[in-house]
Amino acid sequence: MQTRTSLNILGWKSNNLRCPDHSVSFRKGEDNDSHRITLLQMPNGTGKTTLWKLLRTALSGDKTELQEDGIIEFKRKGSKDDLGSFDVSLLFNGAMLSIEIDFDFDSGTVDFWTTYSKGKGRVQGFHPPIEAMRFLNNNFARFFIFDGELASNFLRKDSGKTREVIDVISQLGDLNNINKFLSKYYEACIDNCGVSTLQGFNRRKSAYQEAKDTLNRRKKELEKLESDEKFTEDSLEELTTRADDYIQTQKGIREGIEGLEKELRNLDAEYKDLENRALNLITQPDALSKHFAEGITKFSDSLDKLKLPENVAREFFVELRDEDNCICGRPMDKEAQREIKEQETKLLGSEIITVLNQLKSSKLPPEIQKFEDKNQELKAVLGKIKENDVARRNCATEIEMKKNTIDDENYVALIEKKRNLEIKSEEISIAIEKYRAINDPAKNIKSTFSIQVLEKELKKREKEYLKSKEAQAFQVKSQLTKKLLKNAYQEAQRTICSQITKDTNARIEQVMPYNSIRIAGIESYLHLEGQKGSSEGEKLSIAYAFLTSLFHECGYYLPFIVDSPANPIDLEKRGKIAELVPKLADQFIAFTISSERSGFLDALEKNESDIQYLTLFRNNIPSIVEKAKHAKAYKETGNGMLVEDKSFFWDFQIQKEED
């Protein structure tokens, strides 16, 4: 459904600019309805071109035209005031909209101010509502603030203006703009992501996947390491407890063994002592047995009884034989010597007597007690040895048993296992550190272990990949969209051109019923049927017919502002243009000069009753000023007069003012 968009100019106000200071209103009475046709008569030199540029600037937001001319050039001649302004009041879709242009001639700057009744009040800058921005721009404004030169361009093959105006007014150009935007956006995406080819995208994808795979792998490895670490720590704790328990238990056993070994050493020492004592006793025959003791004593006693050895040794008789006389006093004759010699052989020698006396000394004392003591002592010692032997055996057995309970082999194995686990735990800790490190010395992603570094790298690569993915996806979508838009554009333009051709021809027929000039179609220009040339009047008529059809077709109800609408047209054809003008737009504002009235105003008045007649001129000709003061309505400013009066309008004859 076509939406109606309407814009009316309610008036404008100029101050301290090249045109006379004035304030003009196109309103009918107090409400916001404006006159359908306003004729603003301004003699040449009054500042019409200035006013025209101000109006185009105010309705396009483009101050380039002012800046190109030089801001100071817009200052009223002779004025000492460095400030100037131009203020246009508009009615956009029923809401008040005001655009101000403020001049600062001292600094050479201009500023826009915008006031919109549905907006935020007066704001600096050119900020009409977004819907109005469609036509309040430099491209669009020149079609409703109509430049006469444009009419000729519509029919020139080389100008390409016709399609352009259709694109602008129908806003089909937006489709191209979308295409351009898509291209620019894609380029921005490419610039942003740095990838423009499929290979580049695939590289990004691979790089992202590589980082993702590596990170996942490292996370799994870390998980395994952490699990191993936990298991190792638990095992170590268990082994430590076992080792401690073992040491505690073994400590008791070892202490027991040490005690027993000490006891055994004592028993051994005791045994040695007993053995010596036993040996000492057992090597004494009288201690061995009572019978032995009795035998020894019996032998000794026997010798005593036998008076052995004798008191006189054999040596006494040997010496006696050599004496002259015997001890009895008788002379020692041969018979006596033979008898003594015979007897002396029966006697023992003195040396053997000594031996026998020593043997006799071994005789034990008469009291048996001594023997009993020795024998008892031997028996006691042997008894003690027996006890000692039993004790030593028991002690040794106990030591052996206790030693057997010492499982040193298992303990060594346990300690070895614990040591191995400690080494493993240390290795795991070192490995885990690599995964938990903030930095990583690795030169490529595959050799990187740090999870943080990998996550950071993955994030970066993911971002790059997504950007390139987005760009890739966008390229595909944008190509499709561009194709669709191009097709839509071509189809819409064809349809619009066909419809506008029909409408335009209908209007041309209305304006020029006796003229067979028609347009055959719309290409880059308005293609005329079977006719190669046309007059200026025909060109203007065709242009008006074309624009009117276009505005209506596109649902725009905009003011149509024309400078000298009838000036280039032959007198006989001005009437037809005048008939067309009321149909061009809801509001038609024409800048005219007195010479245009002929043939145009008559026809215009016949076709439209709501015409506003305005005359703006400098108040430097007293006779005119005086006459103006008798007009129906007038406003006088310091340097000009604005008269609203049909008669005055008709009678005004000045074509050019002399400054």
């Binding site: 090597t283 061995l288 035998g295 020894i296 032998f299 052995l308 053997i352 026998l356 028996k379």
Partner: protein, 154 residues
């Protein structure tokens, strides 16, 4: 050269495990058993003996008069000599005793004593199932054997 004591050759190994410091211990223990049992080895068995020392080494030196007295008393008894017969006793003493030997024994005296030793070793060897492995065990059995022997012979 002075006469030396002789002990059975086999007794060296038999007493080996007991590790007595001198061979005289082996000789003494055999002698005591021989005297207790009044058993002398015959002359032809004495060829299996070996000489080892020519005196009574310590700790036997100080008690040698008791050993000799016991030997003479046993010999007199075994020979059936009446201890009240001065002549026969003196004769035997003069045969067995000499001041010219460190052992106070004549060659004959040592030879006869060696026979008791050899006889005693035979008894020991018969009475012990195995060679004695410890002094303690040997002492106990030795003392028992002496007691049993004297209980029957006296």
């Amino acid at each position: 050269m002075a006469d030396r004591f002789h002990a059975p050759v086999e007794s060296r190994d038999w007493f080996k495990k007991l590790g007595f410091s001198i061979r005289m211990y082996d000789y003494y223990f055999c002698l005591m058993i021989g005297l207790a049992k009044k058993r002398k080895a015959p002359d032809d068995e004495m060829v299996n003996s070996e000489e080892f020392v020519e005196y009574f080494p310590e700790p036997f030196g100080s008690g040698k008069s008791k050993i000799i007295s016991l030997f003479l008393e046993t010999e007199l008894s075994l020979l059936g000599i009446d201890l009240s017969n001065r002549k026969t006793v003196q004769k035997l003493l003069m045969e067995y005793i000499t001041p010219n030997s460190l052992t106070w024994l004549t060659k004959k005296g040592i030879s006869e004593m060696d026979k008791y030793c050899a006889g005693g070793f035979e008894i020991l060897r018969d009475e012990f199932d195995d060679r004695p492995a410890s002094k303690y065990a040997f002492f106990l059995n030795f003392e028992r054997l002496i007691s049993e022997a004297l209980a029957t012979t006296v």
